[in-house]
C-alpha cells in the first residue's frame, strides 16, 4: 500500500477522532448553557405568559414582566412583576443568587404594601403555583452539580449532547439527577428530564420554540410537565430584549416596593 496513502488515512482518522473528542466536557457544556442563558433569567428583559393546566384540563393564566442581570457570572439577580391573574397583579418577586448559602428572595404583595423575605431553602416548592419550582429557576443544581456527557441524540433535526447532572448538595435539591439534551450548535437545552431522589421521572421540560434575538438564543416557548401531579405549565415569552445593562439599583427591595 502506498505509504503516503496510509499516512493520509491515518491523519484523517486521527483528525476525525480528534473532532469527536472535541465535544466539550460536560462542565463546559453546562457552563455555556448557563452563560448563554436561553431562559432569559440572567441578562434580559422579558414579558411572559404562563398557562397552568391541570389533569382536568382546566387552565389558569399568569403573566409577568421580568428583568435580570448577571452580577457575578453565572450568578444573577432578577425581578419579576406579575400582571395576571387579577388577584396577583402588582405582586413582585426579587431574587439574588448566591454562590454560597441560600439565594435571597423577597415577595411583594400590593395589598400588604411591604416586601417579605422568602426562605431561600424552599427550592423544591412550586413558584407561584406553576410546575416550575424555585430550583428550576435558580439553576443551582446545574451550577453546583456533577455533570457527565452520556451521548448524543437528535431531537427533531437538531443534534444534541445528552448531559446528566447530579446535584451535589443532596439535602438542598429536590432532584436526584437532571438529564438535559443540549443543542450542539447553540447550547440551548431542548429537553430536560428531572428525576427525584428515587430516580423516578418527576418532570419534563420541553422546548418548543427558540428565537435568536440580537445574537442571543432564547427559549420562547416551552412546556413543563409534572408527571407526578399530572399538571403542566406552558411558558411563552411574548417579548424578549437581551440586556446586559439593567441598572444594579433595579434589583433592590426599594425598587420591588415601587409596585
Amino acid at each position: 500500500m502506498n505509504p503516503i496513502f496510509i499516512a493520509a488515512l491515518s491523519l484523517a482518522l486521527v483528525a476525525g477522532s480528534a473532532a469527536r473528542a472535541a465535544a466539550p466536557a460536560a462542565s463546559e457544556i453546562i457552563g455555556k448553557v448557563l452563560d448563554a442563558d436561553p431562559w432569559g433569567l440572567a441578562g434580559a428583559e422579558v414579558d411572559a405568559r404562563v398557562i397552568k393546566r391541570d389533569k382536568r384540563n382546566s387552565t389558569e393564566e399568569l403573566a409577568f414582566h421580568a428583568i435580570s442581570r448577571k452580577y457575578a457570572p453565572p450568578l444573577a439577580k432578577s425581578l419579576v412583576r406579575f400582571s395576571a391573574p387579577a388577584d396577583l397583579a402588582g405582586s413582585g418577586f426579587l431574587q439574588t443568587q448566591k454562590d454560597k448559602g441560600d439565594d435571597e428572595r423577597y415577595l411583594y404583595l400590593p395589598e400588604l404594601k411591604r416586601a417579605r423575605r422568602i426562605a431561600g431553602s424552599l427550592r423544591a416548592n412550586a413558584f407561584m403555583g406553576t410546575d416550575f419550582s424555585f430550583a428550576d429557576m435558580d439553576r443551582r443544581d446545574l451550577r453546583d452539580g456533577a455533570s457527565t456527557v452520556k451521548g448524543e441524540e437528535k431531537i427533531g433535526k437538531y443534534a444534541c449532547w445528552i448531559v446528566e447532572t447530579t446535584p451535589l448538595k443532596k439535602g438542598d435539591s429536590e432532584y436526584g439527577r437532571i438529564v438535559m439534551w443540549v443543542r450542539e450548535d447553540n447550547f440551548v437545552p431542548l429537553r430536560m428530564q428531572m428525576f427525584d431522589k428515587a430516580q423516578v421521572l418527576l418532570k419534563t421540560l420541553t422546548t418548543e420554540e427558540v428565537r435568536r434575538v440580537g445574537g442571543t438564543w432564547f427559549i420562547t416557548r416551552s412546556k413543563m410537565v409534572n408527571h407526578r401531579e399530572q399538571h403542566q405549565t406552558e411558558l411563552t415569552l411574548t417579548k424578549v430584549q437581551p440586556k446586559n445593562d439593567v441598572p444594579e439599583d433595579q434589583f433592590t427591595v426599594r425598587n420591588l416596593e415601587k409596585q
Binding site: A15, G16, E45, S121, N125, G214, R221, V240
Partner: protein
C-alpha cells in the same frame, strides 16, 4: 513531497477536516444553526425563529409574539388597573338587648345589627414611566346596609327584616400620589399607605397610617389602613436606605363610637354612655348616625395648618440574610383620649336614663355650656426596630416599639395615657405559595404606668397574646383559612374560620366570626358579635 503526492495528501487532508467538521456538526460556530430556515442568509446576530418538532404535540395555545428586540424602547409607559368588586352578607348570631318593662325601646340597650350587607368597589389605577415616574390613584365606593334587631328578640334570625334598616355610603379616596425616581433617590408626594414593621397581624411600628377599626375581622386586608397625606423620600446608600416622611395632616384611627356592632360603646359600657348616646341617637334618623361618628370620636383634632406636623425616619439595613429596620416617628396616637366632664356625670346621675328624652338630657346638661366630654389626641414619640430572616422553610420576624404616650380605654371609656412597649415575634412557615402559609405571632404589651384601680378595657399592665393565620389551598381551587388573635390573661379570642372556592377571578368565601373571653377582655366585650358570613369577590 511530490506534486502528485501533494495533491493526494491535500485532498485527504481536506477530507479529514471535513470529517472533523462534520463530527462537530456545525462549521459556522455556535450562534448559527445549520438547519435554521433563515440561516442560509443571515449572520450571527440577525433574528431567527425555530420551532422544535420532536414528534410530541406542542402546546395547544401559543400566543403570537409581540416584540422581540435587541434594544429597549425609550421611555416605556405602562398603565395598569387592578381592583375588586365585593358583596358580603353578614348574619349576626347575637341578640339585641331587652326593652323597657313596658315594651318600649330602652335607650340603655345598645343597638345590634342582625344583618349587614357590604358592597365595595375598589379600583387602583397606576401610570408608570419606566423607572422614572409613577402616579397612583385608588378609591373605594362602598355601601353598607344594616338591619337592626328589635329589642327583645329571642335569638338569631328571630326578626329578619323586622327591625330598623339603614344604609350608608362609604366613599374613600385611598391612595393618590405621584412619585419621581432617580437612581439613588425616590420622592413621593400625596396620600399614601406606607407600611412600617414586619408583623402580619399588627406591627407596633406601623404608626404612619391610621387603622380602620370598624370591622376588625372582615375587612379586606388592603382596606385595614387609611392612606395618609405624606411626603416621602427614600435615599439609597447602598446596603443602607434612609427614608424620611412628613405629613402636615393627622389622620386618626377610624372607629364607630355608637350604633354598630364593633362600636366602642357596647352592652358592657357604663350606663352613662349607653344612656346618653342612646337618647341622642333617638333624636336622629338611624341613617344619619354615621354622620355623628366623627363628632363623637373627636372634639379636638390636631390642626392641619402645618403648625402640628408629624414626621419620622426609617433606616433600613440589608445584612446578608438579615434585614434590619430602625424607626423614629413624632406624631399622634391614633386613638382619642376621651375625658368626661365630672359636672356632666353629676348632672346625669340625677336623670333616669332609661326613660330620658333628648329634652331632659339637654336640660340636665344645659348648664355646662358645652359638650359633656372632650376627645383629643396625644402627641407621642415612637421608637422601634424590626428584624427579619429565614431559617430553613421558616421566616422569623421581630418587631418592637416604644411609645412615649399611648391611649388606652378605662372601663368607664375615658382615656388612660401611658408609655408603652410592644413586641411581636412572628414565625411563618413558608411553602413558596402564598396560598399555603402558616403564621404564628406572639404579641406582648407592657405599660410603664400602672392602670387605674378600675382597670382598663381589654388591657392589663402586661399582656401576652397570640395571633396568626393558617391558610392552605387544595387543588388550586379550595382554600381553608383560620385567622385569629387571642390572649391568655385575660382569656380572650377572636377567630375567623373560612372556606373559599376560587374560579379564575371569582371567589366565594364563607365563614364564621367567633368571639369570646373572660370578663373584662376584648372577646367578652364584643361577645355578641358571633356571626356567619358569605363573601363574593370578583377581582378586576
Amino acid at each position: 513531497m511530490t506534486s502528485g503526492n501533494g495533491r493526494v495528501a491535500a485532498a485527504l487532508l481536506s477530507a479529514a477536516l471535513g470529517v472533523a467538521l462534520a463530527a462537530r456538526g456545525d462549521e459556522r460556530g455556535p450562534d448559527v444553526p445549520p438547519s435554521s430556515p433563515a440561516s442560509g442568509a443571515d449572520d450571527a446576530t440577525s433574528d431567527v425563529v425555530e420551532r422544535i418538532d420532536d414528534g410530541n404535540p406542542t402546546t395547544s395555545e401559543s400566543p403570537k409574539p409581540q416584540v422581540f428586540a435587541a434594544t429597549a424602547p425609550a421611555n416605556e409607559e405602562r398603565f395598569s388597573l387592578r381592583g375588586f368588586l365585593l358583596a358580603q352578607g353578614i348574619a349576626g348570631l347575637g341578640k339585641a338587648g331587652d326593652p323597657l318593662p313596658n315594651g318600649a325601646p330602652s335607650p340603655l340597650t345598645v343597638p345590634y345589627d342582625g344583618l349587614h350587607e357590604r358592597t365595595q368597589l375598589f379600583l387602583e389605577l397606576k401610570f408608570a414611566r419606566k423607572g422614572a415616574f409613577e402616579a397612583v390613584v385608588s378609591g373605594l365606593a362602598g355601601y353598607d346596609w344594616y338591619d337592626r334587631e328589635v329589642q327583645g328578640s329571642s335569638g338569631p334570625f328571630d326578626n329578619l327584616h323586622a327591625g330598623q334598616s339603614r344604609g350608608t355610603w362609604d366613599p374613600q379616596l385611598r391612595e393618590a400620589y405621584a412619585g419621581v425616581y432617580w437612581s439613588r433617590l425616590d420622592l413621593r408626594l400625596g396620600q399614601q399607605r406606607l407600611a412600617w414593621g414586619r408583623a402580619d397581624s399588627r406591627s407596633p411600628n406601623d404608626v404612619l397610617n391610621a387603622y380602620d377599626l370598624r370591622d376588625p375581622l372582615l375587612l379586606e386586608q388592603e382596606l385595614t389602613h387609611l392612606p395618609t397625606p405624606l411626603a416621602r423620600v427614600d435615599l439609597d446608600l447602598g446596603a443602607v436606605t434612609l427614608q424620611l416622611v412628613g405629613s402636615p395632616v393627622f389622620v386618626p384611627d377610624r372607629f364607630d363610637v355608637y350604633g354598630s356592632n364593633w362600636a366602642l360603646v357596647q352592652p358592657g359600657s357604663p350606663a352613662l354612655f349607653r344612656g346618653l348616646l342612646g337618647v341622642a341617637a333617638r333624636a336622629v334618623d338611624p341613617a344619619e348616625e354615621e354622620a355623628l361618628q366623627p363628632l363623637l370620636s373627636a372634639t379636638t383634632r390636631p390642626k392641619g395648618n402645618l403648625t402640628e406636623p408629624t414626621g419620622g425616619a426609617r433606616l433600613a439595613i440589608a445584612f446578608p440574610g438579615v434585614d434590619f429596620d430602625a424607626y423614629y416617628h413624632y406624631g399622634f396616637d391614633g386613638l382619642p383620649n376621651l375625658q368626661f366632664d365630672p359636672r356632666a356625670a353629676a348632672a346625669l346621675s340625677q336623670v333616669n336614663l332609661a326613660e330620658a328624652t333628648p329634652g331632659s338630657l339637654l336640660s340636665a346638661l344645659g348648664q355646662l355650656g358645652g359638650l359633656p366630654f372632650t376627645s383629643t389626641y396625644v402627641r407621642r414619640h415612637h421608637l422601634g426596630f424590626d428584624l427579619q430572616t429565614t431559617v430553613g422553610p421558616f421566616a422569623l420576624r421581630l418587631d418592637a416599639g416604644h411609645d412615649s404616650a399611648k391611649v388606652f380605654f378605662n372601663k368607664d371609656l375615658t382615656g388612660f395615657v401611658s408609655k408603652a412597649f410592644e413586641g411581636v415575634l412572628s414565625v411563618e412557615y413558608q411553602t413558596g405559595d402564598i396560598g399555603k402559609t402558616i403564621i404564628v405571632e406572639l404579641t406582648g404589651l407592657h405599660l410603664s404606668d400602672p392602670p387605674p384601680t378600675g382597670g382598663l378595657l381589654f388591657h392589663k399592665q402586661d399582656l401576652l397574646g397570640l395571633a396568626g393565620v393558617a391558610r392552605w389551598t387544595f387543588a388550586d381551587r379550595l382554600e381553608l383559612e383560620l385567622r385569629g388573635e387571642g390572649s391568655a390573661r385575660p382569656q380572650s379570642f377572636l377567630v375567623r374560620p373560612q372556606i373559599a372556592l376560587k374560579f379564575e377571578r371569582f371567589w366565594i368565601k364563607a365563614g364564621a366570626v367567633l368571639v369570646a373571653g373572660a370578663a373584662g377582655s376584648l372577646g367578652d366585650y364584643y361577645q355578641r358579635n358571633d356571626s356567619l358570613y358569605v363573601t363574593l369577590k370578583q377581582s378586576l
